[in-house]
């Protein structure tokens, strides 16, 4: 019996020993480095540096502007491969590059081109052969090169970040050109690609156009036009240009905003008084509902993603701040308490943050207001920012800013790390609105 006990004891001790010996060691990896993914886009073959529609170049710009990618400068390229089997994985890995994009463009005649693109993953294994994450082939008319490039950018972006890209979305904005030898100006309601290219007007006027905003389906834009010298709210179909007058009440008709289902337009109306209040216009019946009833300025309504409440700007507290009104209780409460000026709110897609125009001693800048923590992060250092409008994935915010004597469009990533400016050949560019995902 005693012998047995000793035997058992030693077996138990052995078991304990082996358990410690063979349990797989686990290590918690908790804090990485917040940074963009290092990627190289090899100019597509044949590369054409003079062609602004060069597909590789458009993709490189798209990814670079997104804030999620760090584009490797071409002078650091160890090689210029156009085929997967020409890639020397070790050369690129030694540069700590995660991914490589390459492609070929083949002219097929008849203005048709064939585009082949490959996305490679370099650190997928211990070997030096890269893994192909995506490989696509397209045949398109050459005129669709930019559109295809944006489409490819969306594909790559989603593959590498897990989120939908916004490179095929559009911007609506107002462009103001001075009329030569005149004090008058010409106003354009413009629609462009998200990188500022392919800009074309859907409305031209000698009177101000203001506050464009997209319908949720992306088919039309609502805006304020002073074409009759008085403000009126219209919608225009982006594809056909067909217009519809929505609001033409006495006094201010401003700041339209579509509800998430597109059936209601929230607007700021003064109804002949000196100050505007927030109203809802039913797009089907035309019926009107007043939401705020006071003598302060109440404007710039912005819908929550669930359509249950509206954020708006009000100076009822003495200075402009963001308020929220619950649509079922009609009760409004103040939201922002940081700084003396917060206006032009938009709700980010997750519904937990607002993009706002924030003014402090550095001037007007784009900021993110966290609804849960009540904290505000200023993203830009422009001092003259206006009209922030977030992308449908919430990763970037487009706004207007000052460049010398002109106003241009800028974009900032919602973490503030990437800030770019979209060049415009002439005039002032203002009041940008980022479209929803292309329906």
């Amino acid at each position: 019996m005693k012998r047995l006990r000793i035997g058992l004891l030693s077996i138990l001790m052995l078991a304990a020993f082996f358990q410690t010996a063979f349990a797989v060691l686990e290590i918690e990896i908790t804090s990485g480095v917040v940074r963009a993914i290092p990627i190289a886009v090899v100019p597509f073959n044949p590369a054409d540096p003079s062609n602004p529609n060069d597909i590789g170049r458009v993709i490189s710009n798209d990814l670079g502007h997104s804030g999620q990618f760090q584009i490797m400068a071409q002078n650091r390229f160890p090689q210029w491969p156009h085929q997967v089997d020409a890639v020397s994985g070790d050369l690129w890995k030694s540069l700590s590059l995660d991914n490589l994009v390459m492609g070929n463009v083949t002219a097929l005649g008849n203005n048709q081109i064939k585009v082949d693109v490959s996305l490679l993953d370099l650190f997928h294994s211990s070997g030096s052969t890269p893994a192909i994450l995506s490989q696509q082939s397209y045949t398109i008319p050459v005129s669709q090169s930019r559109a295809l490039a944006h489409h490819i950018s969306d594909l790559l972006y989603e593959k590498l970040t897990g989120e939908k890209g916004v490179f095929s979305t559009h911007l609506a904005y107002v462009k103001v050109d001075p009329i030569p030898n005149s004090l008058h100006k010409r106003y354009y309601l413009m629609i462009s690609d998200v990188d500022g290219h392919n800009a074309k007007p859907i409305l031209t006027s000698t009177q101000p156009i203001m506050s464009p905003t997209w319908s949720p389906d992306g088919h039309s834009v609502a805006y304020v036009s002073f074409e009759t010298k008085l403000p009126q709210i219209f919608t225009s179909n982006v594809a056909t240009g067909q217009r519809r007058l929505i609001s033409s009440f006495a006094g201010i008709n401003g700041a339209p905003a579509f509800s998430p289902d597109g059936r209601i337009l929230a607007v700021a109306l003064s109804m002949g008084k000196t100050n505007p209040n927030i109203y809802l216009i039913n797009m089907g019946s035309g019926s009107l509902t007043q939401l705020t009833h006071d003598w302060s300025i109440n404007t710039e309504p912005a819908w929550s993603p669930d359509g249950q409440s509206l954020y708006f700007t009000s100076d009822r507290g003495g200075a402009p701040q963001i308020y929220r009104i619950n649509l079922s209780t009609k009760q409004a409460q103040r939201v922002t308490y940081v700084g003396s000026y917060n206006a032009s709110a938009s709700v980010l897609p997750a519904g937990d943050k607002l993009s706002v125009l924030h003014r402090d001693n550095r001037g007007f800048n784009v900021a993110i207001y966290d609804l849960q923590s009540g904290t505000l992060q200023v993203l830009t250092r422009d001092s003259f920012a206006e009209s922030p409008s977030p992308a449908p994935n919430g990763r970037m915010i487009v706004y207007s800013t000052q460049a010398g004597a002109r106003r241009i469009l800028g974009m900032v990533s919602s973490n503030g790390q990437v800030n770019i400016r979209l060049p415009e050949a002439s005039g002032d560019v203002q009041e940008p609105a980022w479209s929803p995902y292309a329906g």
Binding site: I6, G7, A21, T30, A36
Partner: protein
């Protein structure tokens, strides 16, 4: 064997019964033949006593009668003698016959005895064989028992050896446990170094919320810390984030590894749990 034995026994019994029957018949016939001669001599003695008190005539007559009688008696005696001789001859013949029969019987008895003796001998031989067999069986059993004993002894020896081995292993385990503490310190140190190396290579995308689920990477290392393979054994639900975790592991290769072979052995297969707690 028993059937053969009982068969001959039955034959012998039958034969004896037959002999007994013969004897009985010959003895009774001998008694019957002797009785008449005895009664004749008794009658003659009686006639002499009766003749004492009789006359001359009567005597003559008596003599005549006696003579007649004597003649008759003589004839009778002759006849009796003849009869006796015949009876004697008969008796002799009978005796002779009985003797012959007896001799035959004796011969047969001798034969039967001989047969019985043979049978006995057979039986004894069989018994002897059986005894021999028994003896052999006994010997085998004894051998088996001996073997079993030997085996038991061997088993005991083995058990003892196993016990000693176990004790030795237990001692080794104790020593290992002692080493383990030292090794664990080494392992912990390198675990921290590995964590540092991988975190430096782990790209977290700006603004992309880390998933609540962790990306779990099972990593196999070479002796110099080179990542031989990394396998995603638990997904965050976002393939892009999983890929960034995989990249971090390969970018950090070779990972810092301990020189102590025991500690190294513990760290060659490692699991990294990528999870942003914030």
């Amino acid at each position: 064997m028993s059937t053969r034995f009982s068969g001959s026994l039955m034959a012998s019994l039958g034969f004896h019964f037959f002999l007994a029957l013969i004897f009985l018949v010959s003895v009774s016939s001998a008694v019957m033949s002797i009785q008449p001669s005895q009664s004749t001599s008794l009658e003659e003695h009686k006639q002499i006593v009766n003749a004492v008190a009789i006359s001359q005539t009567e005597l003559d007559h008596e003599v005549q009668t006696l003579q007649a009688q004597d003649n008759a008696a003589k004839a009778l005696a002759a006849k009796q003698a003849r009869d006796l001789a015949t009876a004697k001859a008969n008796a002799l013949a009978a005796i002779q016959e009985a003797k012959t029969k007896q001799a035959a019987l004796a011969t047969e008895q001798a034969a039967a005895t001989q047969k019985a003796a043979a049978q006995l001998a057979d039986l004894q031989a069989a018994q002897k064989a059986a005894a021999a067999q028994l003896a052999q069986t006994k010997a085998q059993a004894a051998a088996t028992a001996l073997a079993a004993q030997k085996q038991a002894a061997q088993k005991q020896a083995q058990a003892l050896a196993a016990q000693q081995a176990a004790a030795k292993q237990a001692l080794m385990a104790q020593q290992a446990a002692a080493n383990n503490l030292q090794m664990q310190t080494e392992v912990n140190r390198y675990a921290a170094l590995m964590k540092q190396a991988i975190e430096a290579q782990w790209t977290q995308l700006p603004g992309v919320d880390q998933q609540r689920l962790a990306t779990v990477m099972r990593v196999h290392l070479a002796s110099d810390g080179t990542v031989l393979s990394a396998q995603n054994v638990g997904s965050s639900g976002n393939p892009a984030l999983d890929r960034l975790a995989l990249s971090a592991v390969y970018k950090a290769s070779p990972l810092p590894v301990p020189s102590d072979p025991q500690a190294l052995a513990l760290m060659k297969d490692i699991q990294f749990n990528f999870k942003d707690p914030g």
